[in-house]
Symmetry: D2
Subunit: 108 residues, 4 copies
């Protein structure tokens, strides 16, 4: 996967991110589990499960999504932000973008 990316001809105008190969599988597993949890919540609502149990399940999906977010954040800093600083290209913009993303998560 990584080798492919090194060689790939970037489609002009397409910005690509960078996710470590081992994180990609980890993330996809987490996201599939999250998708299953969301379908589980749908079933709970359908079967009129006890509200508190549904709420507990939703709080757990939120935590799982935020965990995915922090893994992506780490990859982003380790690769994109780091690279832009090393090359001295767009570093300010990358740092601005990063803190804006964290603010969106915290909804500040």
């Amino acid at each position: 996967m990584d080798a492919t990316r090194e060689n790939e001809q970037a489609v002009p105008g397409t910005v690509h991110g960078y996710i470590k190969a081992k994180d990609k599988e980890n993330l996809q597993n987490r996201l599939r589990r999250i998708e299953g949890q969301v379908r589980g919540v749908q079933r709970m609502v359908d079967e009129e499960a006890y509200c508190i149990d549904v709420l507990t399940q939703i709080a757990s999906v939120v935590a799982a999504l935020e965990k995915v977010g922090t893994i992506l954040l780490r990859d982003h800093v380790e690769h994109c932000v780091r690279e832009s600083i090393e090359k001295g290209e767009d570093a300010d913009e990358k740092i601005e973008e990063l803190t804006a993303a964290v603010e969106r998560f915290l909804r500040v």
Copy 2:
């Protein structure tokens, strides 16, 4: 839907929640949209979309899930908590359960 519930023979040992009929549809629509968003995030990870865009999408799914949580919370207070207080049955337990659910959301 509500009429059915009033008449239903509760399965012994099964605790049922209460979700207003009109909220049920609203919640299911929101949850289906959330499921679609999660699949969208999977696709973004697969196609190595730009990390910041994936993070933005995840923050939006989290907000959508918390909105679902607050709709459920409102129904729960309006029905279950209210009823337990009106009947003078298990009110303390219901209130305890409610604040514990809010704490799980805030992760205090």
Copy 3:
């Protein structure tokens, strides 16, 4: 404290809340500790402490404040919301207010 409140002549137009006497002391202790922590953060900024240490301290103040919030929430439901439902007065309004307060905390 409670006895006093039962007998007190409410100032017209003043809405009073209800905080259990034992929670009041607990809350004041927590709030004084929080005030001290905020002053500690000011000192850290002044002395140019390591950013990560300041951030850790701020995260801890946020958690302490949210804990205070959930104690107040519990007292509010146990007393005000419960009373309004028992008396059948303004229950809808109280429930609306409660869920709105939780939403403000979650910033949904």
Copy 4:
């Protein structure tokens, strides 16, 4: 302020952070306002203000603290993380520390 720091003899074993001079004043103003808000909450609890009003005030202090957190985060990335990457010193450690700090904020 900055000039002083460049020249200062670091106390051995003391790690210093870096806060931009103009942010330092901004942060101190925000922290003093936050301290005042916390004292305001103490007063509200003392005078048994309406719980919902106290909760609203607490939610606003939390948001103000998280804003301070994101300003510090930005300065930290702009200076410490950037510098460690440019010098090729401890970059991995700095990035690890940064994502751990964000996780503590999100309580993932």
